[in-house]
Structures are given as C-alpha cells and as structure tokens.
C-alpha cells in the first residue's frame, strides 16, 4: 500500500543507495547500503511525500550464512538491521534493511533522526553485538554488565548461563 514511498525513494536515490526493494504481504521493504543508512532514514522522515514521523521498531537479525531479502552474492553480511517506520499523517509504513558484516558490526545510529531508536539500538547491541555509531549511550539494556557475549547470536550456546550468584559453588548450571 506504500508503493508510492518506494517510487519516491527510487527517484531520489539513483546512485546505488537502494540495493533492492520489494513487497511482501502488503508491506513494502527496501534494502540500503551501510554508508547511506542514515541519509535514507533522514530523507524518509523529512520528505513531504514520505513523512515517516513515527519510529515503530528497530532490531537485528543474525542470518548466519543465509540470504536475507534482497541480499545477493555468495558472501552476504552476517547481520541485518531492520527498521520499521510509519507515517501517521500519510498512513503508510516501510521496512528498511541494512546488511552489517561480522568483521565490523557497526552502522550509523538513528537516534539523531528518531529519539525513540535509543533503547532499541541498545537492545540490538546487547543481544546481537551490533555497534551503532553516534549513539549517545550504547550500553547493555537487558543483560547485566558482567555478561560476556551476545546471547541472540546464532553461535551463542542456547543454554549457556552466566550466573551472578549461586548458593553452591558449581550449582546446577
């Protein structure tokens, strides 16, 4: 229902900033490059034909060797950062992907664009280890500071616990 947004993005970003676009179950998505993540997001918020005032969600996906939507090639980036935004005035929404490689898991922070992204980026950092450049306070938000690693990465052992306190040394777990 927001094909107009994709058309507008395609008209504005002609230099390869948009890697791919698509539509799934009535919702449109677009994939952008890492270096244009912030500029595409800023455009989505500010352009009068898109007007994405409302930040809905930001999270990460560990593709772990699989291809995400719009990914091509044999060596895809391991992580996707996924953004959902909505325009209250124009009543349309968009999902925006950006691939983040394992060697340098970082991408520009969107807190300067939508303040609501703050805690969502902290969560993505906490659970997936994606660094958001320019974030004002990138700390863990769910796990405790003593926790080592990022538990929602596919290579984190499913039941590996890192207890803070136990009655007996070497308790059940």
């Amino acid at each position: 229902m927001s094909q107009a947004v994709l058309d507008r993005l395609a008209a504005r970003f002609t230099g390869g900033e948009l890697v791919a676009t698509g539509s799934q179950h009535g919702d449109e998505w677009a994939r952008t490059r890492r270096d244009t993540w912030l500029s595409v997001a800023t455009f989505l918020r500010d352009d009068p034909t898109t007007k994405m005032e409302m930040f809905i969600d930001l999270t990460a996906v560990d593709r772990f060797g699989r291809l995400g939507p719009g990914m091509v090639g044999t060596d895809p980036p391991r992580f996707d950062v996924v953004l959902h935004v909505y325009s209250v005035s124009l009543k349309h929404r968009l999902r925006l992907y950006v691939g983040v490689p394992e060697e340098d898991p970082s991408v520009d922070s969107l807190v300067p664009v939508w303040a609501g992204a703050d805690w969502f980026e902290r969560e993505a950092y906490d659970l997936y280890g994606v660094r958001f450049k320019g974030h004002p306070d990138l700390r863990r938000i769910l796990m405790y500071p003593e926790f080592v690693g990022h538990p929602l990465r596919k290579d984190y052992p499913k039941e590996k616990r890192q207890p803070l306190v136990r009655r007996h040394v070497g308790g059940n777990d």
Binding site: E159, L164, N172
Partner: protein, 188 residues
C-alpha cells in the same frame, strides 16, 4: 531427662505459634501473581491459615513467597532480600518457574530459585491453582511444626541442639541448608 522433655515441649509450642503466624513477603515477578492475588483474596482466603498479612519489607517478614520467573539478573536482589529477613524464615517457590525455571530453558532464566535461596516447599503448576497453594502452605506449616525448615535446622545446628532431621541430613554451609527437603522429591 526432665529438662530435655521440657525443651522439646517448648519447641513444639513455639513452632505451633510460628506456623499460624506467617508474615509473608511476596516476591512477585510474573503472571503467577494473579493466582497469588486470588489466594490472598476472600474467595480462597489464605487468612484462614494464619498467613494473611503481606509485608512489603523483607525485614518484617518470615515467609518469602517467590511468585514467578527468576532471571539471572534478579539473583543478587533475591539473595539480598532473603538475607535481610529475620530468622527463622521460610521460602516457598510458587509455580514451576520459581521451582525449576519452568519452560524457560535459556541464557537468561535461572533454573529454579533454589539456586540462590534454600526453598522449603515447591508448588508446581503454571500457574498453580489456589487450592495447590493452600496445600503447599499447609505442607509448610507441617514442616514448621516439625522444625524441618532450612533456617530452623541451621539455627538448631548452630546452637548444637540435637535435632532429629539435622542428624540424618548433612548440612553444608551454615544458614543455607541442603536445598531439597524430604517432601519435595526434587533432585539436585
């Protein structure tokens, strides 16, 4: 002989008084809290068993009711609350999450509150029905009467009294007990 007879009778009287005057501290973290409210409210009415008065400071309570999922992150807080309570004190794990971790089997959930505090009675269920909770409370009262609470055993052991159960069950660290009593059937 007469003296020994006298102390054991006194102990029975004291434990009788304790079991009908439990001041509970509800450590409510999850959905089991709804069932806990139901137990405390007039329909099921835990007041009939002398445990009607929730204290919201652990320093005024002697029964810690752990209601809901305990995460690893909450462990230090739960331990501190237990340490702040007056002795003798008792702990009830309310629901499977507090007892074993329940269906959570992952990086963040503690596999049972007995990992950090000694639990006297485990009440299974997801959530347990109010009748089960009352049953668990009666079970706890029976244990209190017999002097079997972890903290009761620890106190007796520290004073050097001869307590039947303390003599047949090894006590690890002082004030901690063994972690699983005879009625629970829980394996370590």
């Amino acid at each position: 002989m007469g003296f020994e007879f006298h102390t054991s009778s006194l102990k029975a009287a004291v434990n009788w008084a304790r079991k009908f005057s439990l001041f509970q501290y509800p450590f409510v973290t999850a959905c089991c809290g709804m069932e806990f409210m139901s137990v405390a409210a007039p329909k099921y009415d835990i007041a009939r068993f002398g445990a009607e008065f929730p204290r919201f400071s652990p320093r005024q309570a002697d029964l810690l009711i752990i209601v809901g999922t305990i995460t690893e992150r909450q462990g230090p807080a739960l331990r501190r609350i237990y340490d702040q309570m007056c002795e003798p004190k008792w702990v009830v794990a309310f629901g499977v999450c507090a007892s074993t971790g329940g269906f959570y089997q992952n990086y963040s959930t503690m596999p049972g509150a007995d990992q950090v505090v000694p639990v006297d009675v485990y009440i299974p269920g997801c959530p347990p029905r109010p009748e089960q909770v009352l049953d668990g409370l009666i079970l706890l009262q029976e244990r209190i009467q017999r002097g079997e609470g972890h903290s009761q055993i620890a106190i007796e052991a520290e004073r050097g009294y001869d307590v039947p159960l303390a003599s047949i069950r090894p006590i690890g660290e002082r004030q901690l007990g063994t972690g699983h009593g005879p009625e629970t059937g829980k394996k370590s």
